[in-house]
Amino acid sequence: MIDARIGVAVRAPASDALHAALSRLAERCSVVALSDGGPFDAVVRTSPAGREYAERTVLWVEDAADVPDDPHAVALLAPPAVARALRGTVDLPVVALGPAAVHRRARPIMPFTRSRIRRARGLVGPAVARHLGGTWTWDGAVLEPQAGPTAAGLAAVVVADDDASAVLGAAWSAPVVAPRDVAERTGLPLAASDDPEAEVERLLADETAAAVLARSCRRAFELDHDPDAAVAHLADILVLRPGRPWETGYAAPLDRLGTPPDARIRDRAHAAIHVLRSR
C-alpha cells in the first residue's frame, strides 16, 4: 500500500485495459474521481489537461504511436505491451499496470544463493528445470505440478516453453531461456541463440552471464508483471511516503531478498541507518 490519493479524470468510457490498470492502482492506494475534489498526489488522464495550471498528471497511453503531449505529465501509464514499446522512446518514466498480481510469494533468489541452497539441500547435478508441454522436469526427472515454483526458485537455468512458466521463472529471478515469441510477449530478454540447449550449456558454463540474465529477468518481471513493484515505482516518481512507516530503512528490502534473520548484514544495515539518522 502507498499513502496516495490518485484522481481519475476520464470522461469517455474507460477501456478494459484502463479499468484493469485503475483497479490495480485502487488495490494499493486511494483512487477517486477528480470531481470529488482535491488535493491529489496525481491525476490519471487520457488526454492533456488543456489548462495552464493542473495537478501532476499520469497520462494513460493505449497506443504507443499516439502519445499526447501534456506539460503536466510526470509519468506515462500503459498496459505492459504498450509500456515496453514506449520505454526508451519517451522522456517520461513509463509504468505498466493491468494484469492482476501473480506469484506474490516469489522472492528474487540470485544464482550464487541458489547454488548454496542447492548444496545445503543436497541437490547435486546441473540443476536445469524445464517446462515442456505442460510438465516440469528437474535434470530430466518429471516433477509434480506443484513443484514448479520450487524448481523455478532453485534451478541454475529454467527452460520455459510458454508465457506462464517464463514469468514464473522470472519472478524467482531465475535465468530463463524461452522461445523468441514467448520472450517478446512477456518482455523477457531474448536468448543469444535460437537453440535452447546451446543457451543452457552457455549459461551453465558462465556464471556471470547467468547472473546478468537472472537480474534482467527479474527486472522484466518487476516492470511488467508485478503491480506492487509498478505502484512502488510510481510512488518513487511522485515522491510519496511509504504506506507503512516501519518499512523505511533496509529491513523490508532485506526481507524481500530472503536474508536470514540472523545474518550479519542486518546488523550492519541497522548500524548504517542509525549513523545516517543521527547526523
Binding site: V8, R11, H19, L22, A33, R105, R121, A141
Partner: protein
C-alpha cells in the same frame, strides 16, 4: 523464517530423485564444520563456555520468551493488516467504477449545460427571425406574414400585367382605358373657425403638466436612441423641440438637423449651435436629395398627423435615407388599453392612434427592410398581482389569466418602430 515455503527443505525434497529399490540413499551433504584442532586458546574458550552457558540460559530464557511473544503479536497484527488490505483490494474494481461513473456524470452535466446554452441561442435566433418577418407577432405570425407578402406579390404581378395590356393597347392605337380612380382618404367635415378672442391651445403648458419631468423624458430619450443613431449621421430629428437629442448626438460626433415648426423652440435650438429648419417634416424631406440622410427620428409626432401626411412622410423617409439608414418613430402604444383610455385621449391634438402592427405594415409597404418594434414602459403600477404556482392548478390558471390581462390592459405604454433601408445590391 524469511525464506519462502517454496524453497523449504520439505518443498526441496520433491526435487530429489527417488531412491531406487534396494539402493542406499545418496549421502546428505555434510554442512557441519570440521572441528578445529584443540589448542590452549580453544580449551580456555570451551571452559568459559561451560561456565557461562548456564548463566546465559538463565538470563536469556525470559528475554527469549518475551521476544517470541512480541514476534507472535507482530505476526497477528501483520495477518490482520493483510486481511484488511485484502478486503480493500477486493473492493478496488467497484471503487474504480464509482470514480469513472462520477466523472461521466460530471461530463454529462457539463454537456447538458452547453446544450442548453446552444438551445437558448437557437431560440433567440428564432425570435429574431420571427421579429424580422412579422414584427408584431414574432415567429408565430411568420406564416401569416409570408402569406400576406405572397398576396402582395401576386397583386403587384396582376397590376403589372394590366399595365402591360394598357401599354400594348396604346401602342396599337386603341382607346385609352379609363384610369381607375383611386379611393381618396375621407375629408373631414369642415368645422367652424375659432373666435379671434379665444386663446389657442397651450400645448407647451399642457406638456409641462401632463408629460412628466422634461429632464427625465430627455434622459430616457438619450439612453434609448443615442447609441442607436450615433453611427447614422446626418440624423434628422422631426419635431426636435429645443434640440436636446441633437445636442447629445453632437457630443458623440454625430451630425444632426432639426425640423421644428414652432418658432420659439426652433430659436432656442439654434441658440445651441444646431442647424434647425423651421418647417414641417414632409416639406423638409421633399427638398432633400434621395439617399442623402443617415437617420430620421421622431418622438410622439406621427400620432398627430393625418393618414395621407403620414403615408407621404414614411415614403419620403424611405427614399431620402441612404442604404442602411434608419427610420425611428416613437409613439404611444394603443394596444395597451390603459394608454388608449387614458394618456392617448388626454391629448386633444392626437389625430389617430397607431397600432404597432399598422406602423410596421406602413414601413414595410414603403420599402423598408428589417422592421423591428421595441416596447417600453409597461404600466406596472396597474398590474394585477402574480399568484404563486405552488398553490395548485387553479392558482396557475389564475396567474396565467392575470398575466394576459396585464399584457392587454397595462402593457407597454409606448413603442418605437425601427425600420432600415435595405443595403444597395452588389454591382
Amino acid at each position: 523464517m524469511t525464506l519462502p515455503a517454496e524453497i523449504s527443505p520439505e518443498a526441496t525434497s520433491r526435487l530429489l530423485p527417488a531412491p531406487a529399490a534396494g539402493s542406499t540413499p545418496p549421502p546428505r551433504a555434510d554442512t557441519r564444520h570440521a572441528p578445529a584442532p584443540a589448542g590452549v586458546r580453544t580449551r580456555a574458550k570451551h571452559a568459559a563456555k561451560a561456565v557461562l552457558k548456564p548463566v546465559y540460559q538463565r538470563v536469556m530464557a525470559p528475554v527469549t520468551r518475551s521476544v517470541d511473544t512480541l514476534a507472535r503479536r507482530l505476526e497477528d497484527v501483520q495477518q490482520r493488516l493483510d486481511h484488511l488490505e485484502g478486503r480493500q483490494a477486493a473492493t478496488a474494481p467497484a471503487r474504480v467504477d464509482r470514480a469513472l461513473l462520477s466523472e461521466q456524470v460530471q461530463a454529462n452535466t457539463i454537456n447538458q449545460s452547453l446544450l442548453k446554452a446552444e438551445f437558448g441561442d437557437v431560440l433567440r435566433r428564432f425570435d429574431d427571425l420571427g421579429m424580422a418577418i412579422a414584427p408584431a407577432t414574432g415567429i408565430d405570425g411568420a406564416a401569416t406574414r409570408l402569406a400576406e407578402q405572397r398576396e402582395q406579390l401576386a397583386s403587384l404581378d396582376r397590376r403589372l400585367r394590366l399595365l402591360d395590356e394598357r401599354v400594348a393597347r396604346l401602342q396599337a392605337g386603341g382607346a385609352t382605358a379609363a384610369e381607375p380612380t383611386t379611393p381618396s382618404t375621407p375629408v373631414p367635415a369642415a368645422t367652424p373657425a375659432r373666435a379671434s378672442d379665444v386663446p389657442g391651445f397651450d400645448y407647451v403648458g399642457f406638456e409641462r403638466r401632463f408629460r412628466g419631468d422634461p429632464d427625465e423624458v430627455l434622459r430616457i430619450q438619450r439612453e434609448r436612441y443615442v447609441p442607436l443613431l450615433a453611427d447614422h449621421g446626418p440624423v434628422v430629428d422631426i419635431g426636435c423641440g429645443r434640440g436636446e437629442l441633437l445636442s447629445a448626438l453632437a457630443e458623440v460626433g454625430t451630425e444632426g438637423i432639426g425640423v421644428e415648426p414652432e418658432p420659439g423652440m426652433a430659436a432656442e435650438a439654434r441658440a445651441r449651435g444646431l442647424r434647425v429648419e423651421e418647417t414641417d417634416a414632409v416639406t423638409f424631406l421633399r427638398q432633400c436629395e434621395p439617399g442623402s440622410l443617415g437617420a430620421i427620428f421622431s418622438a410622439h409626432v406621427v400620432e398627430h398627423v393625418e393618414l395621407d401626411y403620414l403615408l407621404e412622410f414614411i415614403h419620403l423617409a424611405s427614399s431620402r435615407l441612404r442604404p442602411g439608414g434608419l427610420f425611428v418613430a416613437e409613439t404611444p402604444n394603443p394596444a395597451s388599453l390603459v394608454v388608449l383610455g387614458n394618456s392617448y385621449i388626454l391629448d386633444p391634438t392626437h389625430v389617430r392612434p397607431l397600432h404597432p402592427s399598422l406602423m410596421a405594415f406602413l414601413c414595410e409597404n414603403a420599402g423598408f427592410h428589417d422592421v423591428r418594434l421595441n416596447f417600453y414602459s409597461p404600466a406596472e403600477s396597474y398590474h394585477l398581482p402574480a399568484v404563486d404556482h405552488d398553490l395548485g392548478e387553479v392558482a396557475s390558471a389564475v396567474d396565467s389569466g392575470f398575466r394576459r390581462l396585464n399584457d392587454v390592459l397595462f402593457g407597454a405604454q409606448e413603442y418605437t418602430v425601427v425600420a432600415r433601408v435595405g443595403e444597395a445590391p452588389a454591382a
